[in-house]
Amino acid sequence: MSDIKIKVNGRESTVSVDPDTPLLYVLMNELALRGPRFGCGLAQCGSCSVLLDGVEVRSCVTPVSKIAGKSVTTLEGLPALYAEQKRLAQAPALHPVSQAFLDRQAPQCGYCYNGMTVKAAELLAQNPKPTEAQIRAHMNGHICRCGTYPLILEAIQLASTRMAGDVR
């Protein structure tokens, strides 16, 4: 056990865990977050995805000791991150990607949508106007067992259009 300092969704905290503990278990248990979730523990599926300094990583294979000095954003922190990226005075209730998923009624069970949202938010921050081929390629590491890919694709395109209207 060691005391490890982590910064998640803008908040710093100290957790007392084994340094080899994957970040996922710290987020789920010590921080009681509901966004990141276990899917495979093998970095194959994307259900545990978080942003590490804005870059999507698989928290199930990222030891908590390896994130020192870095900033973790989970699903819960995406609205605030978006406000920061777009210099908005106030964070929206939902990140535009989440809002588009909701408006398009895209999810079924919704388990994979943590990873889908995080990965799509990463994409649109890097490339606000992705082509369909770029979306498909970017999202390819994320599995949806319910088969809602076509709805996810449409919703990401919707979010892209809407985000263009938000002030930067």
Partner: protein, 747 residues
């Protein structure tokens, strides 16, 4: 580290001091309570003929509805609320659903076979109609007018024509008090012509919280004093019936993880630890020597063994004279088809939280049937069912019987042993390796047409084993062999609906050859059970006959359908796809990438499904890419057409995944496909576009909408492959290896 199952010195009272607060707030089952007891104080199921079982009206003029169908991610909660709100004349914002709970909610049977709206809906509608009538009777007395002069809008009862002049809210009539009224069986139900909510695209009630991250899944539950548990099983299941028998468990192998402890019961081995990562590490590190089981056939010998085995045969359909029919045929086509074991494999492995005490148990699980889960848990825990309470918390999409009962039973066994709440989540290899797989299927199909293009003979022989009614953890903990659901003619058979029933065939025979499950893999219903296999075999045979006649396959089907609803979905799918009549596989191209289009029909039980598929085949690499799928579904009254569309999309993508990619791999020792690499599924980059079409029939009863386009999709893709290449694939998944072999064998 101690072996808890043998440790009776464990001081339970001390644990309760530390964590007892958890259990306050629910009264354990089985304790007799006065008639005025609060809802949930007694073991259910509550009386299904009492209005109070189903509906509570609150003082703030909102309602809580209690039904027995689980939200599995398919959106049925929204549909059920629409049905209840419609009948009660409430707005969607005024109504919510209670958590499924064996102490609270009625027993409506399993949430399976797409039955929520079809069979659960009418029960709930009847209850809501009874409640509405009881409320109108109260309003009639309050307002001093006849019931038939009353109208209701958003839970406000008023006198017809008087606006709000004389009006009373439901909440003021009965707010939070019981109805104490039994069903009369005569409460009038709203005619479909007056529906305002049913049949409309109401947004799903669960999605806002799912998108924000506030939704509480079973995976999220944490309680004080809780331990984390993991199961320890061989990597990949062995032959059904052999279980998993530990010959030696090396306690020293996890001594380096101080908080980890081993729990054993019968052949069950699990580990618990204070924190989750320790439990994960301990389950992986624990050295167990397992007894070798009997050999499995492996993928290589599966179908030979099934075909050669003594079977229990059942005639499923037998009409006319099959020999005479074939004798008069102008063209006959026959072939054998080979369909793999496939997995449920929920994206989030199953999880459960159990708190088992001497006087009662509370288990939170993502089961499809809380009452069946309770009965199974009672057996495993050796407790009366009335002392076991099961609450439903949503997991991730399960598509049939994945390992949810196993996770719940493992958590319960470990909680009982250690005297503390235990949360168990399956690891990916547990879920992949110990699923109750959708069984493999072997078909021999023969069909004939006359010169006029009319089907005159159809014969389907299907070989498969059945489903288990027990669970792996129950079997090994109680050291009893697994039980297959019935046997002989009562076992899982070929579905007559999926094998030619959509066509008018004067001479038709369907025979089911039941193979015993012993020596195969553990089987259970996987979404649209075996219908994908039936359609793959049956609809390719139909297509071959159209080709033999040099006829457009749409026109051929049209000529042989006798039912307007089958015709309706066929035409709807063809129209959506802008189908142009032609003979398939003409012209044939030698280009590297060739395109094909196919059509197919299918169902599960009652609803009607049709599909058109556009695919590309790379003739050099053997890779098939589905480009666009068009699916039409007639499920009678579509309570929420938007959700039915969503179900069509999901069914078609999952079917494309299953027919192109999915296959459980196993050798003579056990299952070897234990993750998403060895068991590939459809990925984002390669997914086809989907055009869903709901054939709305407001006047018809609502029937299942979660499975009925899957067979059609598989058939359309298989037929599109023939169109693209002129070759038939008679085994799926349609992997590059099989594609190249089929192309090489082309004449």
């Amino acid at each position: 580290m101690t072996d808890i199952s043998c440790d009776t010195s464990f001081a339970r009272r001390d644990l309760l001091k530390g964590g007892g607060a958890l259990i306050v707030g629910f009264s354990l089952a089985g304790i007799p309570l006065p008639a005025s007891a609060a809802r949930g104080d007694m073991a259910g199921p509550p009386d299904p003929d009492a209005i109070d079982t189903w509906i509570a009206i609150h003082a703030d003029n909102t309602a809580t509805v209690y039904f027995g169908k689980c939200e599995l991610g398919q959106g049925n909660t929204t549909g059920m609320l629409q049905i209840a709100a419609e009948e009660l004349d409430l707005a969607m914002s005024q109504i919510s659903a209670a958590r499924l709970d064996t102490n609270v909610t009625p027993n409506q049977g399993a949430t399976s076979s797409s039955s929520s709206i079809e069979r659960g809906g009418p029960q709930l509608r009847a209850a809501a109609a009874e409640a509405r009538r009881a409320l109108l009777a109260l309003a009639s007395r309050r307002l001093g007018v006849q019931i038939n002069s009353l109208v209701v809008t958003d839970g406000v009862v008023s006198v017809d024509g008087e606006g709000s002049f004389r009006a009373v809210k439901y909440g003021d009539l009965i707010g939070d008090k019981p109805f104490n009224v039994k069903f009369t069986g005569t409460a009038p139900q709203k005619p479909s012509s007056r529906y305002k909510l049913v049949g409309t695209r109401v947004a799903r009630v669960d999605l806002p919280d799912k998108m924000s991250g506030r939704y509480e899944l079973v995976h999220h539950l944490r309680v004080p004093n809780m331990l984390h548990g993991r199961v320890v099983l061989p990597r990949g299941q062995r032959a059904f019936g052999a279980g998993a028998r530990p010959l030696a468990v090396d306690e020293a192998s996890i001594r380096h993880i101080p908080s980890a402890r081993i729990v054993r019961k019968g052949d069950f081995v699990g580990v618990v630890a204070d924190n989750e990562w320790d439990a994960v590490k301990a389950a992986q590190a624990l050295k167990v020597t397992w007894q070798e089981g009997p050999e499995l056939p492996g993928n290589a010998n599966l179908f030979t063994q099934m075909r050669g085995q003594k079977t229990t045969d059942t005639v499923i359909a037998n009409r006319g004279d099959i020999a005479k029919g074939f004798a008069g045929a102008a063209h006959v086509r026959s072939s054998a088809y080979f369909c793999p074991y496939q997995g449920h494999l929920p994206f989030g492995p199953n999880c459960a939280l159990a708190d088992v005490r001497a006087d009662g148990a509370l288990i939170r699980s993502s089961t499809q049937d809380v009452y069946n889960a309770r009965a199974m848990l009672a057996r495993v825990l050796d407790m009366p069912a009335e002392k076991v309470r099961v609450q439903y918390y949503e997991g991730s999409g399960t598509f049939g019987r994945s390992c949810y009962e196993d996770a719940a039973q493992a958590a319960a066994i470990m909680s009982q042993a250690v005297g503390r709440p235990v949360r168990v989540q399956y690891m990916r290899w547990d879920e992949h390796g110990w699923d109750n797989y959708g069984p493999a299927h072997l078909a021999e199909v023969r069909a004939g047409v006359n010169a006029e293009g009319k089907l005159i003979a159809y014969e389907y022989h299907g070989w498969q084993h059945g489903w288990t009614v027990t669970s792996t953890i129950q079997d090994i903990a109680l050291q009893k062999p697994g039980v297959e659901r019935a046997s002989g003619s009562a076992s899982i058979t070929v579905n007559p609906m999926s094998t030619g029933s959509m066509y008018v065939v004067p001479n038709r025979r369907v025979i089911s050859h039941a193979v015993p499950m012993e020596g195969y893999l553990r089987g259970a219903a996987l979404r649209s059970p075996l219908d994908l296999s039936f359609a793959f075999a049956s609809e390719q045979t139909i297509d071959e006959l159209a080709y033999a006649l040099k006829m457009d396959p749409l026109e051929f089907r049209r000529r042989n359908i006798g039912d307007k609803r089958w015709l309706g979905v066929l035409e709807a799918a063809a129209k959506a796809a802008d189908w142009k009549p032609r003979v398939m596989a003409s012209p044939r191209s030698s280009a590297e990438v060739v395109r094909g289009r196919g059509i197919g029909l299918g169902t599960h039980h009652v609803s009607y499904g049709a599909a058109v598929a556009d695919i590309e085949v790379n003739q050099r690499t053997g890779v098939i890419v589905a480009r666009h799928l068009y699916g039409a579904l007639d499920c009678g009254l579509a309570v929420n057409p938007a959700q039915v569309e969503s179900q069509i999309v999901g069914q078609m993508i999952q079917s494309a995944s299953r027919v192109l990619k999915e296959e459980v791999l196993f050798d003579k020792h056990g299952v070897t496909s234990l993750d998403w690499e060895s068991y590939p599924v459809m990925r984002f980059a390669e997914h086809p576009a989907v055009t869903p079409v709901v054939v709305q029939r407001i006047e018809e009863p609502a029937t299942g909408a979660g499975e009925e386009v899957m067979g059609a999709t598989v058939a359309a893709i298989a037929n599109a492959f023939f169109d693209a290449t002129g070759a038939r694939l008679r085994q799926y998944p349609m992997t590059p290896e099989r594609v190249l072999a089929a192309l090489a064998a082309r004449t």
